[in-house]
Structures are given as structure tokens and as C-alpha cells.
Symmetry: C2
Subunit: 306 residues, 2 copies
Amino acid sequence: MRRKVKEAAVALDYHPNIAAQSLIARRSYLIGLTYERPSPSYVVELQNGALSRLENGRYRLVVLPFNHVTSRPEELGKLLLRAGLDGVLLAPPACDQPELLDMLERQKLAYARITPHRDLHRGVVVAMDEVAAGHSVAAHVLALGHRRVGIILGDPSHAASKGRLEGYRQAFAEAGHSIDPTLVVTGDFTYDIGYRVALDLLRHSPRPTAILAQNDDMAVAAIAAARDLGLAVPTDVSVAGFDNSEVSRTAWPQLTTVHQPVREMAWDAANRLIAALDGKDELAAPRRRDHPHELLVRASTAPPAE
Amino acid sequence: MRRKVKEAAVALDYHPNIAAQSLIARRSYLIGLTYERPSPSYVVELQNGALSRLENGRYRLVVLPFNHVTSRPEELGKLLLRAGLDGVLLAPPACDQPELLDMLERQKLAYARITPHRDLHRGVVVAMDEVAAGHSVAAHVLALGHRRVGIILGDPSHAASKGRLEGYRQAFAEAGHSIDPTLVVTGDFTYDIGYRVALDLLRHSPRPTAILAQNDDMAVAAIAAARDLGLAVPTDVSVAGFDNSEVSRTAWPQLTTVHQPVREMAWDAANRLIAALDGKDELAAPRRRDHPHELLVRASTAPPAE
DNA sequence: CGTAAATCGGTAAACGTTGACATAAATAGG
DNA sequence: CCTATTTATGTCAACGTTTACCGATTTACG
């Protein structure tokens, strides 16, 4: 009986009109993904994680990159509200804009926050322990015997930068040392700026024997800067990154880094967003979930030469 | 009069219901983007190119990656038709599946093809001259004096691999030489496979003095393979890539490569797709457009040592 | 002041579904 | 065979817009 209908549907290749379905269901079955300043590998991981949850479901993923969120959060809010989404995945730094969260809540647009660093009680949160992750990579370098350690921070508008730095600080304190503030420079997570500040760091005298970069792109830049100064990695200087992005494996030498489970977090964020949308809110609990990081020791770190 | 209405709309912060608008306009204002096997940098370029055309317009971008298109083009067709799109941007190898194009035409789903290599008369086409691009990089290496040249092909299901190879062949012929078939190996555009086949190539005796890789990821893998064998680039072996993707600049030494205008092509494809959807078909003409490539000579190529 | 044009206010159909409901027909159980 | 239940068939309102249209009112212009 219903089989016949389905057969007829196939025969006429009838496809239900999605707009009409959306209209009556009061759902668009669209999930947004916002991010800023795309480090390609990060964006693709994020996207693939979310997509792996969405495939074989009704929901579709709309990508909405948006730059300079911190200076104009309301504009992003308008963009998101105009996009007719059912829910949105917020990557840093958008996930840390209270004004934006206010807007979304006022308009009842569901959201999930990926690695936020403030107001952790608000909305659905997936995170990793940035402090512990920072701690583990710094402890590794200290255990190798390094003392003069250069640090390349990420974009200050991303709160992850602070968390990771705090982790470094704790590791230094535990080892009975402290960070040399003259060896701390600020990047913005991009290769180009990373290269520039790494050069500054390596021209410092006495030269640092190790560099902790807050993402892999900047770590790779530091390796290039070292080579351009005639220094070998890890013989003359050790370099560690952060994220375990594709470049960390394709770099030479392969980067010691901390695996950031971006894919898994994006999957989880999408999963719980959908659970909330489909009214299975219980499944979304607990509101906050931490995903484990992992220190990956590869070829770019070694004991100092002297 | 209408000003008052707009003011009231703002005051009540009223946002028109997109589903209802779509229903009546018989438009979803959704553009799809399909691609396969995401080399992160390629995907991001593609996406950003399309997005840069879409922003400030009504259209939104839905990402629909799909693997193994060549073995199941109808499945991708179903996915696209079910997604409720107004139009779709087809990257390789989906853009070269006649069955898929047939389905889309039958269901009247507009499409634009990015760098297709067959049936170039069908639909909207944006392309580059792969043969000429392959020619230019091969000619460069030959002009440096290389004769034993290893070649790492891309995924055979991507027609670009053939076009680029044909360009190499022409350059060799013009120089009065020919490609040594024992020095041609097949990769799949990924780093890992690229690394493996590059090792094979470099263990060949006599060793090639230069390697032409059909994308940058594989070229970077070849550099890593060379270093792992104790060979310096470009002193012992020159390496050239293809695409001018981000890794080509962050690699060390920076890669000689051919700029593939992915961003521009994606912009153009989106532009002409929208022109067709909005009924400004005249603006979409000519149906086919070639974008210029550009040889970028950087640090990874030099004359052979001997 | 009178006519033509522009503006206003209101009603209604249409877009393609879904879901509720009512009625009619088929099937099952005792 | 009769009732109770399941299954089939059909009608209609609703979702939130847009577009067309009609009549009423205002404005512009000679």
C-alpha cells in the first residue's frame, strides 16, 4: 500500500519540496559553521568533523566564515540570523563573544561552542583542557633539559593563547624555573607572522635552545626561520607545535606537537546541537564535555646541544 | 510610508521567514559545493573563492564532500538533488562524470564545472590550460639542464593528471628529449602516497636529478623523502610542485610550482552560476573561460650538480 | 475646482507540504 | 455472521510569505 506509493514516487522521480517541508516543520535543517582566519587544516578538520555527524541525516552544513568577530559581534549575529539556520557551531573566537551569545539566545537560535574559554556555563560546550595541554608540551621540553625556551603566542583574541601559556607557566613552576618574559613573542597563528617573530627570537642572545609555538603553522615557520639562519632542528634548536594538524606530519623534521581533537570536538558539537534541536536534550547532557589531548613526541625536539 | 514599516520591522526585530520565501520564489538560495579527497589547502581555496562571490548576497554555501564519485556518480546525484539546492559547483573529479551531469540536467539543477577535462561543451565551464601549465614547469626544469627527470602523477581518476603529463611530454619533445617511462610513478595527490613513491624514485639508479610532482603535497613529500635519504634539495635533486598551495610557501626550501588560480576559478564559477540562476544568462557567456596559470620559480629547483 | 495620477488599505490566492479528521472499505476475531 | 479493529480514501486548514487586484483616499497639476 505505502510500498506502491513509494514505487510511484520513484517512477516519477518525485522529490519532496524542501522549502515546503521547512515551512511547516518550522525547521530549515541547516546547521551553520562559523570560524575566523582559516588555517586551512583547522577549518577542514572542523568541517569534516561536523560533516561526519551530519551525513546520512537531514541536516546540511552551511559555512559562514567571518573575520574580525571581536570588533563587530552584532554583525556576525545578524548574518547568522539572516541565514535561516536551525543551529550554529561557533569556533573561536566567535564562541567567546557574549554579545553574540545574547543575540542568539534572544532570537532562539541554538548554538554549540567549540573550545570556548569564558562563560563556560552558557550553552552547549565542547572543549579540551588547554592548560593541561600546554603543560604537557612545556614539561616535555623542560624534561629534555631546555632552560632558555622561546615562546610564540597565538592571536591574543583567541583565548586559547592564554590557556596554553598558563599551562607552560605551571610546568615551569613545577620544574622550579620560570618563563623568561623577553623570550615571549606574539604571533597570530599564521605562518608569515610566525616566521617574522621566530627570526626575532632566534637572533636573541643568548639564543633560546627550544621554541614552543602555539600552533603548528607557526612552529613550521620557526623551523624555516632556523634553517634560514643556518641552524639545524633539533640539533641547534628544538621546536614544538600545537594542534597536530596536517603540516605537523608533512614538516621536516616531523613536529613534536599536542594533538587537539578538533574533528572529534566538531563531531560532538554537531551531535549535541542536533540532539537539542530534535528535542532529545537529555542526550546532550552534560552541557560541557572535555576531549582528551595527547602529546606527540616526534623528531623536532631533542636535548639541548651544550 | 515604507520607511515606517521598515522602522517597525527593526523595532520588533522581525526577520522574514526564509522557508516561506523559498517556497514562493521556488528558490532555496542555496549553492552546493562538491569535492573529493580534500587536500585541505585546495578545499579551502575553493571554498573561499566561492564564498567571496556569495557574501553580501542572498545565496548561502552548502558543502557536500563526497568520496569515490567515479564509482558511484548516481549516488552523488541523489545527494545533490535531495539537498534542495539552486545550483552546484562541481570540482574534479565530479565535474567529469557524464552520468552525474545527465542526472542534474534531467532534474534541472544548474551546475558549474571547475577544471573539467572532457565534454567541455557541457554546461558552464571554468578551466585552466593544464597542458600549457605542465609544459611550463617541465620546460623550466629542462632549461636548467636536467635530463633524468622523475615524475609523480596525481590520482588517475582526476583528468588533470593526464593533461599535465601531456604538457610535460610536449616540453620534452620540444627540447629534443623524451620522458623515461621507468621514472614515472603514480600517486594520488596525498602526502603519504607521495612520500612512498618518491622514495622509490630516488632509489632508482641512476638517480633522477629532478622530480616533477603533480601537486604541492606530493612535492613536499618528495623533499622529505630526499632528506630522509640524505639528499639535499635542490643541490642533489630539484623538486617542482603544482598548484601554488599554502604548503608550497611554507615548505623549506620554498617550492617551485605552477600557480593554479583555484580561488579565481571558484569565484568565476559561482558568479556565472548565479548569473544563470538569476536569469542573466547573457552575462554568463562565454560558456567556457580559461584562467591563466603562472610558473613560480622558487628555491627548490636549480641546475643539476654533475 | 476638476481630472489624472499616485498612494493607501485590505482581501485573497498561491507556493508544496503535513497533520488532523471524517468517512468508507477491508480484515480479523469470536 | 456480527462487531471490533485495521487500513484505505478524501477533504481541509495551516505554515509565512508574495503578488495581484479592487476600491478608497490622497496628492499633483493645469
